[in-house]
Amino acid sequence: MALPSLEDMQVQHVAAQLNALHAELIDDDRLEEWPDLFEDKCRYSVISAENHNRSLNLAAVFCDSRGMLVDRVVSLRRANIFPAHAYRHILGPTRVVSSNEQIISAQTNYVVLMTRNDGQTSIYNSGKYIDEIDFSGDAPRFVSKTAIFDTHLIDTMMVRPI
């Protein structure tokens, strides 16, 4: 493997930082800021590897606009009934798969730990992000983010983004 250029390292840094911020906003319950990490026209989906590996498109969560991301957050705050819980994302290294002047394609392994209000923490969801990041504007944003999860048996419910 050739040594990375300075440009390669910058691109990798942008993608890793954006993923770290994505995780932080969710874990710290700053969900109202979370949709700002996405372009207006974007895709966000959380899909089981069980479906993805069979080329089936049925996702647990599928949004194709930033408005739908906002709606998910408002729904969590105002509409949905679910057990109190918090997430903690543990991210693996972000690898840049390809990039051009505008778009970075990257992937990152993740684990989401869930803590319910009985104080117990469990491994809730484990998988891989496949991202497309537009870094041509004022700030890098996701054009698409797909969380492909191995943990196809979801405990109780899924209300927060992964």
Binding site: L58, V74, S75, F82
Partner: protein, 420 residues
């Protein structure tokens, strides 16, 4: 303190003023074990999968009847079969994959092989090696097949039974259920994918939940606020003649927002301030001529067939123990769906499943009951909305179908086990 009145209510038939169910049926392992024998292995048909999941000869799917692992197969004649997933030799799982395609079923442990109907077709070293070993002279292959269940398909839904004496599957379902299955399974379907959800509660709490039109607009704000389902809608809660199964349906076109707002008053779940930025989530198509927009067909003991707007799915219950079950959602559309219809179904899938803006809430509804009844030996629930009898209703303010479930449960399992 337990009063005589409470104890009597547990032991006696349903009193006129409502149905009481002892909470221990949700927590005591004795009931769970008797359910496995008397319901899942008893005089019942359990849902095991869709024919569309095993379309080709050799296709198989591993699943469960209650807690018992079974395999659904398609043989070369086109028939579907269901066998227990346990080698007749020393009990190993024969299929270790969730699904796949094989010409025969072979156990990895000693390579005993079975055809797709479950007949034993090969035993390595059956006659020994170099004149040594081998099975006894009276070993009869035909006596060592996989345990075969009866299997019947109704409208492409495959049901299986351990019982040799139970009525035919169609008779077990009854005409109302068969008609509703055929309404949805009216043309060839295509599988969109599965979702799996583990709920830490007793499976019967979900059996109650899906027979309960009373909760649907009170727990689920999405249903109510956007008029997907309201108890004020035109709809019915019907049962089969034996009151095992339940059909809830409603027609969203009957919404009257002003009158409904009055009916729900300041209810949490009728929130006119709640708006979506992207309403495309709720844009669908009227696809059934009867204008019915919501069908929850709950089939005893382990199936729900649903239509919510344009989402079509089966939900299968797999039991893990008294306080845990899995819900397997298999979503489908029709083979002739155009691209826009496929997109509608995939987007509306946001409403159902474990992350469903509506249905995620039922997991919590089950768990908050399970958590509250722990260790409770004698207390009972009280089920009386709509009159407290297992009666059909031409409205949606009823719990009659829940009582129908318990009447059948009492007959098959009983409430009379002594508290442990």
């Amino acid at each position: 303190m337990v009063t005589a009145q409470q104890t009597d209510n547990v032991k006696q038939d349903t009193p006129a003023a409502g149905c009481r169910v002892p909470y221990r049926v949700f927590t005591d392992r004795q009931y769970y074990e008797r359910e496995q024998e008397n319901i899942f292995k008893g005089e019942c048909w359990s849902f095991v999968g869709l024919e569309a999941e095993v379309p080709q000869a050799g296709d198989f799917k591993s699943t469960f009847v209650g807690e018992t692992p079974v395999i659904l197969t398609r043989d070369s004649d086109g028939g579907v079969h269901v066998v227990v997933n346990r080698c007749a030799h020393r009990g190993a799982l024969v299929c270790r994959e969730m699904r796949g395609n094989r010409p025969s079923l072979e156990c990895v442990y000693h390579q005993w092989a079975y055809d797709l109907k479950g007949n034993l077709i090969g035993v390595p070293f059956r006659r020994g090696l170099k004149g040594q070993g081998g099975m006894p002279g009276d070993f009869d292959m035909s006596q060592h097949n996989l345990r075969k269940l009866r299997a019947e398909s109704v409208g492409g839904l495959v049901f299986a039974s351990f019982s040799e004496t139970v009525e035919s599957c169609r008779d077990f379902l009854g005409p109302i259920v068969v008609e509703q299955i055929e309404r949805i399974m009216c043309k060839p379907i295509t599988i969109l994918g599965d979702q799996r959800q583990r709920i830490f509660g007793n499976w019967k709490l979900y059996a109650e939940n899906t027979r309960d039109p009373y909760h649907a607009s009170l727990l689920h704000l999405f249903h109510n606020t956007f008029g997907l389902y309201r108890s004020t809608q035109t709809g019915k809660a019907l049962m089969d003649a034996n009151k095992r199964h339940s059909l809830l349906y409603s027609i969203a076109a009957s919404n009257d927002d002003a009158a409904d707002k009055q009916a729900y008053g300041d209810s949490r779940s009728f929130d006119t301030e709640f708006k979506l930025q992207d309403m495309s989530l709720l844009k669908g198509r009227q696809e059934f001529a009867d204008n019915v927009t919501l069908v929850i067909l709950t089939v005893y003991p382990n199936l729900v067939l649903q239509q919510i707007q344009n989402t079509l799915a089966v939900r299968q219950t797999v039991t893990y123990g008294p306080d845990e079950f899995e819900l397997v959602w298999t979503h489908f559309g029709y083979e002739d769906d155009d691209a826009e219809m496929q997109a509608i179904r995939l987007k509306q899938a946001n409403l159902i499943g474990p992350a469903g803006l509506i249905s995620m809430e039922d997991g919590e509804a089950v768990e908050i009951v399970q958590n509250a009844i722990v260790g409770e030996a004698r207390a009972t629930s009280y089920i009386a909305m709509g009159g407290g009898q297992a009666d059909d209703a031409d409205h949606l303010v009823t719990e009659g179908a829940i009582i129908g479930f318990w009447d059948n449960y009492r007959e098959m399992v009983g409430f009379d086990l002594e508290p442990t």
